[in-house]
């Protein structure tokens, strides 16, 4: 089986008002299918930048990055969009659900960009909501749901396309600990299904549950556990 993500000496430098600001300075990392990786580090350590690169939201300025076996430096913006749609699932700290949109249609959103019709989208979204334990919230809107429920909707949205990698950026950051635990349990159940889960966190307890921990500092991997 090929690795889901391979990063080899990846760097990312931002140009801010003509000044080069290095955010990543050569990171190498492999994420296998079914991996469970926690990226930890203080803010400004480059973990968010790494996350964006691994998710195909951004491109490295140096090194090679393979996502799903494809070198992102050779991909057009449209191919990058397709890659994000098919290979990656994102879960954000602040959920990023569309307001005024039902849980079902929020979950079905990625399928819109696959040209899948509304009926099939709703069927698949309903099935995915059932899987995350929200069968009773299908027609609810984000403002009618608790934070934990909203994050489950976001996870269902990330999973509806059947991605090989799920990237979660502080998935429990806005949740109380009990709710956070159940969200983590949900993510961990995916690992058993063969989905690679990469989560960014600065919560040590959360990080400790992962199989591997990558500690970021000043744009470099300072330790792996």
């Amino acid at each position: 089986m090929t690795a889901a993500i391979v990063a080899d000496d990846v760097s990312r430098t931002y140009q801010l008002d003509g000044v080069s600001v290095p955010a990543l300075r050569g990171v190498s990392l492999t994420v296998e299918p079914g991996d469970y990786v926690a990226i930890v580090g203080t803010s400004g350590s480059g973990k968010s930048t790494l996350m964006h690169l691994l998710g195909g939201l951004d491109r490295p300025t140096g090194g090679t990055l393979l996502i799903g076996g494809r070198d992102v430096s050779t991909l057009s913006p449209n191919e990058m969009a397709e890659l994000r749609n098919t290979t990656i699932g994102f879960v954000f700290q602040s959920f990023h659900l569309l307001a005024r949109t039902t849980a079902q249609d929020n979950v079905g959103l990625p399928l819109v960009y696959r040209g899948i019709g509304r009926r099939e989208r709703r069927e698949r979204a309903a099935a995915m909501l059932e899987r995350v334990g929200l069968a009773h919230r299908i027609t609810h809107r984000p403002n009618q749901m608790s934070g934990g429920e909203q994050q489950r909707v976001a996870i269902a949205r990330a999973l509806v396309t059947g991605p090989s990698v799920l990237l979660a950026d502080e998935p429990t950051g806005n949740l109380d600990s009990a709710t956070g635990q159940s969200v983590l349990a949900l993510l961990e159940s995916l690992v058993d299904d063969g989905v690679a889960v990469v989560l960014v966190t600065h919560d040590r307890d959360v990080a400790a549950r992962a199989r591997r921990q990558i500690v970021m500092k000043d744009g470099l991997i300072s330790a792996t556990r």
Partner: protein
């Protein structure tokens, strides 16, 4: 992304900001309504004038001394009744030739006074032009040849002078000379800005005696068919030029008059529509403005959509459709408003208005185009947003 889905998203976005969407649309609505209503009024006026010119009669040829062109001085007419005999020979049918000598005169009946356009005419007038009598009879050939002082009153003049009494057989004085009323015309209304119900027709001979002149002002000929108008026009002008070598004569047909009037009104309508079009343009700028606000407000949404696989084009199309939806909805509402205004104007004011499909189609097409043109920049901006930056935006 399927287009149907994109429409749905655009519609949702507009519904979410109903008041803002309505206000933005208002600019387009007003612009389109103004174009439709003004073009309708221009077209209606043109049709009315065409109807009036055509209502004079068919295949008419009008012959007047002088040149018909801008800036030429009015020519005093050298034409007399003797010329008519020559024209009759050219035409070959005296019932197709009418003449006129016109003068504004005060007309009295008892204590009532009216001001009328006195027309000295031949008995052929009703066969050359379309003039129908309401009561009595028209002038006869004998009336003309003997210069009998008889008069046929326009409907308006008859009402002014006699109110509800029957004017037939009664006396009127025209320019101080007594005439007997023998007929009254059917009402005609205004024509080319002239109140034709204020006319009084008298034998041309009687009019000439009253005015102390031998001249006649103009000749009208009704050609047997459309094809022969040109030929007849040349022959008549040639015959008149032979008799009056020092004078130019001009012959114009109804079609030529219609052509000139139509051109003038067409230009006027175009200018009005263009002015109205400017307000449509301003409306378009409003759409552009609000779309930029919308893109900014929904930066996070754009970032998320990109994260889950939206291509730049998908985002661009979504915002472009939103702009187009705004302007086309505004366009439809504007068409209804403009059409309704035109119908009300036509119904309740003397100004005529006629709705035309092309003006509606044009206004709608322009509003859709305005949406595309003014939506492109915001849509491109949305499409090009960096997803990382967009997601971070608060």
């Amino acid at each position: 992304m399927r287009l149907a889905e994109a429409w749905r998203v655009a519609l949702d976005a507009l519904r979410a900001n109903r008041l803002r969407s309505m206000l933005t649309m208002l600019g387009v609505i007003i612009g389109v309504a103004a174009v439709v209503a003004l073009v309708a009024i221009g077209t209606g006026t043109k049709q009315q004038i065409e109807n009036q010119v055509e209502g004079l009669g068919s295949n008419l040829l009008l012959v007047v001394p002088g040149r018909i062109q801008a800036g030429s001085a009015p020519t005093s007419s050298p034409l007399t009744l003797d010329d008519i005999d020559a024209i009759n020979r050219v035409v070959g049918d005296r019932s197709r030739v009418a003449v006129t000598i016109a003068s504004g005169e005060t007309v009295r009946a008892g204590s009532r006074t009216g001001f009328a356009s006195m027309q000295g005419v031949l008995e052929t007038t009703p066969t050359v032009f379309v003039r129908r009598l309401d009561r009595g009879a028209y002038l006869t050939r004998t009336d003309v040849s003997t210069g009998r002082r008889v008069a046929v009153l326009g409907a308006g003049l008859a009402r002014t002078l006699f109110a509800d009494r029957d004017p037939i057989g009664r006396q009127v004085t025209i320019g101080g000379v007594r005439f007997r009323v023998i007929g009254v015309f059917e009402p005609l209304g205004q024509s080319l800005g002239v109140d034709r119900d204020g006319e009084v027709h008298v034998p041309v001979t009687a009019a000439q005696r009253l005015l102390g002149t031998e001249r006649i002002d103009g000749i009208a000929i009704r050609a047997p068919d459309r094809e022969r108008i040109g030929e007849l026009s040349t022959a008549v002008v040639a015959a008149l030029t032979e008799r009056h070598p020092d004078t130019d004569f001009s012959a114009v047909t109804q079609e030529q008059i219609l052509g000139v009037l139509g051109d003038i009104l067409g230009v006027l309508t175009g200018v009005l529509a263009a002015i109205a079009g400017i307000s449509l343009l301003v409306g378009g700028v409003g759409v552009s403005n609000i779309m930029l606000v919308s893109v900014r407000e929904r930066t996070k949404e754009i970032g998320l959509r990109k994260a889950v696989g939206a291509r730049p084009r998908d985002i661009g199309v979504q915002f472009l459709l939103e702009a187009v939806l705004l302007t086309t909805t505004g366009g439809i509402l504007g068409m209804l408003l403009g059409g309704g205004t035109a119908l009300l104007v036509d119904r309740f004011t003397p100004v005529p208005a006629a709705l035309t499909w092309w003006s509606m189609a044009l206004a709608f097409g322009v509003s859709a185009a305005v949406g595309i043109i003014f939506g492109v920049v915001p849509a491109q901006r949305a499409g090009r947003l960096d997803p990382v930056v967009a997601l971070r935006t608060e």
